[in-house]
């Protein structure tokens, strides 16, 4: 685990000093939330569903923006090869990158949720919503880290990344939007089956990504 944390520490330090993508992720999420606030009719009865959908569109696209860059930057600079040359298995590199990506998405969520609360007047700072946000971030980062590595070596990676990620992220998107809608509607208890489904999704996809990461990282 010492090596995993070294990778996380390195990623955070490099991002906070280099500002490669975190700033863009935050700005993108905020623009999406503000724009959809004007697009939706929030006086109607379905504003909980519209709000939940808007919130997760912001997280999904902002997450993809960062995830797409996380390994592409390393590959472009050649530092990914430097990491590969370290005597660690690919799973260790996956875990380090995965945890960093979860943290980046959580930072975006930490900035976006209070803004969302102010604009939509929906209970987006409830503990259950925060828990939902973290579960969603884990699933998104798990899949995104794997596909980021896969797409990083391609010249068409900006196209390839969403093409790979979206189909497999559909259960995640449906689950998070449905659960968040239920919480916004005050039916938190009804959201638990979705929590369980998403937790299972996280475990399965993070484990699978960990196992197959070796295949996408090596030549």
């Amino acid at each position: 685990m010492r090596r995993v944390w070294a990778l996380v520490w390195k990623d955070l330090l490099v991002e906070f000093r280099g500002r490669e993508f975190l700033g863009a992720m935050v700005v993108f999420a905020l623009i999406t939330i503000v724009t959809l606030n004007f697009a939706f009719d929030l006086s109607r009865g379905d504003r909980e569903a519209s709000g939940a959908g808007g919130l997760w569109i912001a997280f999904l696209f902002a997450g993809m923006l960062g995830l797409g860059r996380s390994l592409a930057v390393e590959r472009d600079r050649g530092t990914l090869e430097g990491l590969t040359l370290c005597p660690v298995d690919a799973g260790t590199i996956f875990l380090g990158k995965f945890i960093s990506n979860v943290l980046f998405i959580v930072i975006v969520q930490a900035v976006s949720l209070p803004v969302f609360y102010g604009l939509y007047n929906l209970p987006s700072l409830e503990p259950m919503v925060l828990l939902m946000a973290v579960i969603g971030a884990i699933g998104l980062a798990g899949l995104g880290t794997l596909f980021s590595a896969l797409a990083a070596s391609s010249r068409a990676r900006e196209i390839l990344m969403p093409l790979l990620l979206f189909p497999l992220a559909i259960p995640l998107v449906i689950g998070t939007v449905r659960a968040t809608t239920l919480i916004f509607q005050g039916d938190g208890a009804e959201a638990w089956p979705w929590f369980n489904l998403l937790a299972a999704f996280d475990v399965i996809f993070v484990t699978l990504s960990y196992i197959v990461f070796d295949l996408v990282l090596e030549e």
Partner: protein, 241 residues
């Protein structure tokens, strides 16, 4: 390490990229205490061979044994004993020299990482720039940092792909000292460069590649500078045919 056996044994290795064959039936071994100058014209296959030795490229055919095991199958263990300098610097521009080396020392599982980083920086003459970000270093100083990263874990084999790129006279002295101390302590070096005279001054053995084949493999004392130049030239001619 494997006692008296070769550190690295390359047997009948081929490497193909699509229709282009980069290595053809390459065989050679590397024993303890050797400094091999791997020479050849552009496109001769030097970098491909070095990348194969570094377990960054898998041979299409043939085997590479390193430290008594199949290099590709046991690549994590093999990499622990390799120090690699390639064309890219492998360091993070946003991190300081010390932070870069502390990171890589941790990744190599070393203890007292700050002490190891400080020693490596001292070794390459970068101690005064320890707290400067890598992005502020010149090309030559960046190459020194790259060398420091490669020797950080005292590897058994140093694989240096054009390590003299960007180095000034003082930097080349540092590089020569690293090669000498590596050989003296029983390790080995494989070095590619286009600076023929410099390479021949460092090497204990000369291997010349031409069109992906080994066209010369001799101890340094048994081969003249002219013979090496001719071998490199014959590789160029063969490649041009």
């Amino acid at each position: 390490m494997t006692g008296d056996g070769p550190l690295i044994q390359v047997e009948h290795v081929y490497k193909r990229f699509g229709t282009k064959v980069a290595l053809r039936d390459v065989s050679f071994s590397l024993v303890s205490g050797e400094a091999v100058a791997l020479l050849g014209a552009n496109g001769a296959g030097k970098t491909t061979l070095l990348r194969s030795l570094a377990t960054l490229a898998r041979p299409t055919r043939g085997t590479i044994q390193a430290f008594g095991v199949d290099a590709w199958s046991a690549r994590a263990a093999v990499r622990a004993q390799l120090g690699v300098v390639a064309h890219q610097p492998y360091v993070y521009p946003e991190l300081t020299c010390t932070e870069n080396l502390v990171f890589f020392a941790t990744m190599f599982g070393l203890e007292e990482v700050r002490v190891r980083a400080a020693e490596a920086l001292e070794h390459v003459g970068l101690a005064r720039r320890a707290d400067d970000r890598a992005s502020t270093l010149s090309r030559g100083l960046l190459q020194r940092l790259n060398l420091a990263r490669a020797i950080l874990h005292e590897p058994a084999v140093l694989l240096l792909d054009e390590p003299d790129t960007g180095l000034d006279a003082a930097g080349r002295e540092v590089l020569s000292e690293i090669v000498h101390s590596q050989v003296t302590r029983g390790g080995s070096v494989v070095l590619t460069t286009h600076a023929l005279e410099y390479a021949l001054g460092l090497a204990t053995r000369v291997v010349v590649l031409g069109e992906g084949r080994v066209v010369l493999d001799e101890p340094r004392e048994l081969v003249s500078d002219e013979a090496v130049s001719l071998a490199i030239g014959s590789g160029v001619v063969a490649a041009g045919r």
